[in-house]
């Protein structure tokens, strides 16, 4: 009797073929993107979205073509922070044009579609059992967004990930080994511990871990024009990946985010300078091909080259 693998096709439902076609559409849609960078943490509330937006802004100021995909479909914040809450979605020749900020950053965020008074809901044939299918549905939606919007020629596409160490790994698997990861922590033992779990989980896969950014590393006191400590912790984070920089908390930055105002006006402040330094380091590391880039086997590219020789 024939087994599953002896039979070509699936008799007409084409489920696997359709999934493969979706993947091909995603690959085609991202063909013009030079770097895919996912900004994650594992921990919530550490400023992933804020850093994503303002790193994108700093890179944009350097003349790079940048877009953000707010992958936190359930708690989208980029629409408000980037000022695209009321964005118009315009059909292009075969895809949707990407809404843009006033400084030219392309932004997709569910927050442009769903008011903050509403939650994201899916129709379901299995009401009350969303824990069995919801994550699958959200990734299918992410695939649809990637395949259906005009990403065009970009230097960087940044993914603003939702919290959760396990979610970070799911995104790594879905987005594939082309995507590099930048993790965000704050200087607390709790946050560093959660980020360490994300590092451990991501290290098992092929994705490149660029390093981490320590956000809220002190706060900027405008009265004193000085950075003051927020947390009392050892200088060494214990995270075994490079630190791409530290960024102090600035209440003015938070106000700008709430109002969807570009950060350009704060560029000369300590926070702006810190963000610019992180952006510079990020860009440098992305362009540095000598950095270990893991293969699908989990080997670094250096190890892979040595083995092939």
């Amino acid at each position: 009797m024939k087994g599953y693998h002896d039979i070509q096709g699936d008799g007409g439902s084409r489920v696997l073929e359709q999934v493969a076609e979706q993947r091909a559409r995603i690959t085609d849609g991202l063909a013009g993107v030079r770097h895919l960078v996912a900004v994650g943490s594992g921990k919530g509330g550490v400023g992933k979205s804020t850093l994503t937006l303002h790193l994108a802004g700093a890179l944009r100021t350097r003349g790079l073509r940048v877009a953000i995909l707010d992958a936190d479909f359930n708690g989208p914040s980029q629409a408000r922070m980037a000022g695209v809450q009321g964005a118009l979605f315009v059909p292009g020749s075969d895809k949707v044009a990407l809404p843009r900020t006033t400084n030219g950053i392309g932004v997709f965020s569910m927050g442009s579609m769903i008011p903050e008074s509403e939650s994201l809901e899916f129709e379901s044939a299995a009401d009350g059992e969303s824990h069995t299918w919801r994550a699958t549905k959200e990734f299918a939606l992410l695939g649809e967004v990637l395949a259906s919007f005009e990403w065009g020629a970009l230097d960087l596409l940044m993914f603003d990930l939702p919290p959760g160490a396990e979610r970070t790994v799911q995104y790594a698997e879905f987005l594939g080994p082309r995507t590099s990861f930048l993790l965000v922590t704050i200087p607390s033992e709790v946050s560093r511990g959660v980020v360490a779990r994300s590092v451990a989980a991501l290290s098992k896969g092929p994705n490149r871990l660029l390093g981490y950014v320590e956000n809220m590393s002190g706060y900027y006191c405008r009265d004193c024009n000085a950075i003051k400590p927020l947390f009392v912790l050892p200088e060494v984070s214990g995270l075994e990946i490079p630190c791409l920089g530290t960024v102090p908390f600035d209440p003015e930055l938070a106000r700008h985010c709430d109002l969807g105002i570009s950060f350009t006006a704060l560029r000369e402040t300590p926070v702006g300078v810190a963000l610019d330094a992180v952006a510079q380091r990020l860009l440098s590391d992305l362009n540095n091909s000598a950095l270990p880039l893991k293969t699908a086997d989990g080997m670094s590219n250096v190890e892979a080259n040595e083995r092939s020789e």
Partner: protein
């Protein structure tokens, strides 16, 4: 999932899919050798699981035919079409918006190419853009003008 006719040792072929009923699909397969037919009746969990992959189940869609059905519970809706038209900003809530805006076939074709969950908002926003420019027709020029206007 594949189905095998054991007596013929032959893969069965999908024939028809009944419309979703309370979350269940009736999928009929037949053996091309002996003609034996069997039906797979999905439970709501199975229907939802496949639906969550964002795929359709059914024989190849031919022009003018609708033999394939969405695995959504009500047959064809995307996740958001049920909720977005009723939301703030997507309602014809301003003076003059009750006058219908006509879409040319080329503009409709472009709209049809984009994901279903974006369409209601895209349609409403573009129609508002057209009205603001004193026209009650959306054609490809209006779509391109909107792209240019918003720096897309």
């Amino acid at each position: 999932m594949k189905f095998l006719c054991v007596p013929c040792d032959s893969p069965m072929k999908l024939q028809t899919i009944g419309p979703p009923e309370r979350g269940s699909l009736s999928v009929v397969y037949a053996c091309p050798e002996c003609g034996y037919e069997m039906a797979m009746l999905t439970n709501p969990f199975e229907t939802q699981l496949v639906s969550s992959l964002g795929v359709r189940i059914g024989p190849e869609i031919r022009e003018g035919a609708s033999s394939a059905v969405s695995t959504s519970a009500d047959g064809a809706k995307c996740p958001f079409t049920a909720m977005i038209p009723t939301m703030e900003g997507a309602q014809p809530d301003q003076a003059g918006e009750s006058i219908p805006v006509r879409w040319t076939s080329a503009a409709e074709a472009r709209l049809a190419n984009i994901p279903e969950f974006v369409r209601p908002m895209a349609r409403t926003g573009i129609e508002r853009f057209a009205r603001d420019r004193g026209t009650l027709e959306v054609d490809e020029k209006i779509l391109d003008a909107a792209k240019d206007f918003f720096g897309m």
